[in-house]
Symmetry: D2
Subunit: 348 residues, 4 copies
């Protein structure tokens, strides 16, 4: 019963097999491997963006920090939510990579709202050289709280960003889960909605460690390459990043894996609805569930060895029916019987 | 005939197999995987350093830059050679990670010399707050030109560093090749010789992408962890770094692979001695050869598809007997027949 | 009628005279001038802090950024208000000088509140290496909105900071005005209330450009000196910083000037109370007034050439009785007749 | 007998008087003072550069670091001499302000040589993303060893820089002394010779603390303004920087002061020629002398209270006739009798 995160699950066998196939003889290093050419072309094709600049890195934080640094100047401020991974979970990596840009937190909600965003960007107007300058807008899709922006919602944010002449960046650590949830194309969810650059996350969805960074305007390409190298994120044996991504794209594995994860989360949510005292923070839309269960249910689950995020506590003290917040995440490999056992144990 | 670099070779099957074995079910993320505990313990044991702080990262530049940043302050200068990887090949990663420390190049030779080092460190004496402050000494073992410091040579550098109260760092991208060449233990080549921190490179020697950073004084541990996270080098699915390193340590694979690479280079060097006009920059000691061959020999090799570093040129113009510098590197997988064909082709 | 800022006023004649007196013959450079020794001793004495480390810089932003960088590590977050000068008015100088630390905005009020602060610092607890680490708490005294923390309020913030083992920094750009308002001693308002480091602003209060940075724990001294030099804030002809500060401390000029500025603001506030439609954002406590006047009053004032901060607008459109927010600042030199004319003009 | 540095001398009375004149009433802050408009126009006129972007800062290191940061990217390397102030005397300020650019030391001589420079820049060619990228060339005029580049020498360096499409920066801490020595115009020594940006030093030549930074291509203007603010080098009471510079430009004070300093140094050098055992490192050209005197002469001088830079020692031990290196600097205020006493004392 492992629901702690989709980064605790295994790699998909097809991805491991891809590593094996790539492990033949000599391959040029540092991103000059032929497989990288293939992968870049496949990603351009998937995004219907023949001119896009495409790069691979091994971690989601590297993708975010390098992309935002490329889109920012050190005196800028980046607009994001209070819960954004770049704000809360990256130990100041964006500040480090940008050379000291600031993050301005917009609103208190899980999703950026166009009006609140407009007010926040607009408020930087009168400060001249004294205040931070306007920098990129960054959204996370799927959001940190498991919600999915519709393409129209993204486009509304893009419109605000472009009104102020700043780029829109999408942290797509769970990009595939969002596409699976929306039933749209990668292009519709990105450049067609005004996204200027995106990370196409693969690690959480069946790879070992690989993310693509895609700039729809290739003007940023060379700067990104220098930043990646300087950040120590250019792999010498780059073929092993290429191979993961290649396998991930093969036969739509990326989408199938996300569909499987989302379906597992839906099954889990459906079961939780029947658990007495269960309430959802919001309707689950992709592969993450934020919900409250009574303390007693948590106690049963933990005793049974369930692993997941429990945000309110401590567990040991208080009324048995007090609701406590949890996060449950399903990955592509989530076994149905673990879901069913979780529900049964929670039900008591 | 691929001799461009040991980072162009494949991973060892034992390492790939290790990935497969690690790919079972759930594993805690971000370095909290159980296999990481095992690996850290194995490395402490290998280095006879039960208190050492041990971390895994995916690239050699990350290992160097993070370790040096942990050992430095932004107003320091790091002492290294003109050819050092941290100076010439990392696109200012050390300057970036340290927050603006400087590199002071010591002498013109491939190896640091204790007397020249002492003069260089000493010369920073009178500058007070105006000049850079004394920071770590960094050596590369095997050196960038393929030479190997003896343990006594390392100890002499360590003595100078410690006289000035600065740490000695070893860039061990080819650590195993040096141990294989010297026939010493990892402890003898590091802390017993005054090394305060070392990168234990595995990527070039049969892994996909993993290096250990080892601080013999664990006081630096927590800062390193923060720097690694902030640098986006903490893997979420960390088990796949652990698994590579675990397989690399299993049954002495690390040493056997290095011995194989060194033996291939020795065979290649031996053959080259018989090639008319071949001269060595220095006697090859590990798995790299720097030598000059006549232009005509290079032309034959390139026509035959040999891949290696050619530093003088252009190849197309000039006298056929003019000697041109090349770098040849052998990895663990280097096929004997490729060596023999290279020699035969060079001989004409 | 110049009420735009206390940094638009002249230097006090006594300070200019001090420059002249210091301008005799040779003086050792870079802070080794004898007058600097005197000044440092005078400041230690004024603060009843014989062990304090004391430094001079030329701008308030330099004082803040260098002090906070000395008290922080790059992976920290600094706790301050949304209006704090370090957040809103320094073009990311704190992020630059700290090497990428973050600022966490605490509450929406002008003053830090101990409970809100405790909640903010406490919320960083569970993030381990992922989130920013806890860094200094920074308050501004006089606040950006013209309010003055009592010594007890400061002590309450200091207690929270020290509970979490982080330092308390005071941006004292208007330090003297606060002391004048409270009638306390510099020691009571700083280290006796838990302040670990403070900037003792002099520029706004009658100098040309000089601020002292005082660390009550001298352990930070050498690091600060290196940071100051590296930041290009160590003056070669340092005697001219020393001379300003020396004159500023002579015969209590610092306090008299602040008392004069505060008295001018009180006179202005008193007069404004009689202006129809005038409302105060808060009761003025030092030398700054935030108040609203009807649009028509502003129109009369601007027509008469009054210079001050008008934050709501544009002035030209809208109802004549609509209240619009302004900031008025008095410095030591504020002429009484300018105050009276301002009131008369506003009254119409 | 004070010859330690031109930054140990007093400000010129005309400059102090300028401060007094500027100290009337209200002046807009942060560089928006009217006097700044005047000064900027005067400098554009002096340099015959009507489009130039002109800024004032208070220290020479700020001028250098901010200008180089504006001309560089963090992955660049800046080409300069081993003795350059930016390398040896700024505690890594260039690395800090550029965000981690590197300095490549070109040759061992006091002056940059075009051929050596070309070789150094050219050698960065083959490294692609791995090595640092080519950044600005920085020369110091007057050099750190007191020599003066001719306009033709500067033009030759500019030609090399522009061949590689990198800018040429001049650290003009002693700009006026060089103009006085060459008898040329500021334009001839800068943009007419290929200089893209220059610091026009005034501190050492009779001001308290002010330097102008001039970009002949104003495209850099806004970035510089942001960098200056972020670096805490934008003065709130900016009128006092303007006033210094205004007085410095009035009636050719800048040139007269430099001529006086150079004349003093010439008188001192002429006298030293007659001192037994005196040898010059190079023929003095401006206001600095590097020469060796016998140990006994130094002992007499120090006993008589002479203050100057002694670079070889310790003084107390060794043969009386052993020559020891010294640096002597004359400023605008150098009294003739101090020069004569120095010579007499040295002569014994």
């Amino acid at each position: 019963m492992f629901f702690a995160s989709d980064n605790t699950g295994p790699a998909h066998p097809q991805v491991l097999a891809g590593l094996g196939q790539a492990n033949e003889g000599y391959a040029a290093p540092y991103g000059t491997d032929e497989l990288n050419l293939t992968v870049r072309e496949r990603l351009r094709s998937l995004f219907e963006a023949p001119e896009a600049a495409v790069y691979l890195v091994a971690t989601g934080t590297a993708a975010n920090a390098l992309a935002l640094a490329t889109l920012s100047r050190p005196w800028d401020t980046i607009f994001c939510t209070r819960q954004a991974h770049i704000e809360a979970d990256e130990c100041n990596a964006p500040e480090f990579y940008t050379g000291g840009a600031k993050l301005t937190l917009v609103g208190d909600a899980d999703k950026l709202d166009p009006d609140t965003l407009r007010a926040a960007i607009g408020s930087k107007e009168f400060l001249g050289v004294h205040g931070p300058q306007r920098g990129p807008v960054a959204l996370t899709q799927v959001t940190e709280m498991g919600q999915v922006y519709s393409c129209a919602e993204i486009a509304a944010l893009g419109a605000v960003a472009h009104d102020y002449d700043v780029p829109l960046y999408m942290d797509g650590a769970r990009f595939a889960n969002a596409v699976a949830a929306l039933g749209c194309t990668p292009a519709e969810m990105t450049w067609k909605a005004g996204v200027d650059a995106v990370s196409f996350g693969a690690t959480k969805n069946g790879c070992l460690g690989v993310e693509a960074v895609i700039f729809f305007d290739p003007a940023h390409a060379w700067e990104f390459e220098l930043r990646r190298k300087r950040g120590a994120h250019l792999f010498s044996k780059h073929r092993f990043l290429s191979a993961q991504m290649d396998a991930y794209l093969e036969d739509g594995l990326w989408l199938r894996s996300a569909q499987a994860a989302n379906a597992s989360a839906a099954r889990l949510a459906e079961g939780l609805r029947g658990v007495p005292g269960c309430t959802f923070l919001a309707e689950p839309q992709a592969n993450m569930i934020f919900a409250r269960l009574p303390r007693a249910a948590h106690q049963r689950l933990q005793a049974a060895g369930a692993v997941y995020g429990l945000y309110e506590g401590p567990l040991g003290e208080g009324a048995p029916d007090e609701p406590l917040l949890m996060r449950l995440v399903c990955d592509w490999s989530c076994p149905p019987d673990a879901i069913d056992r979780f529900i049964a144990t929670a039900s008591g």
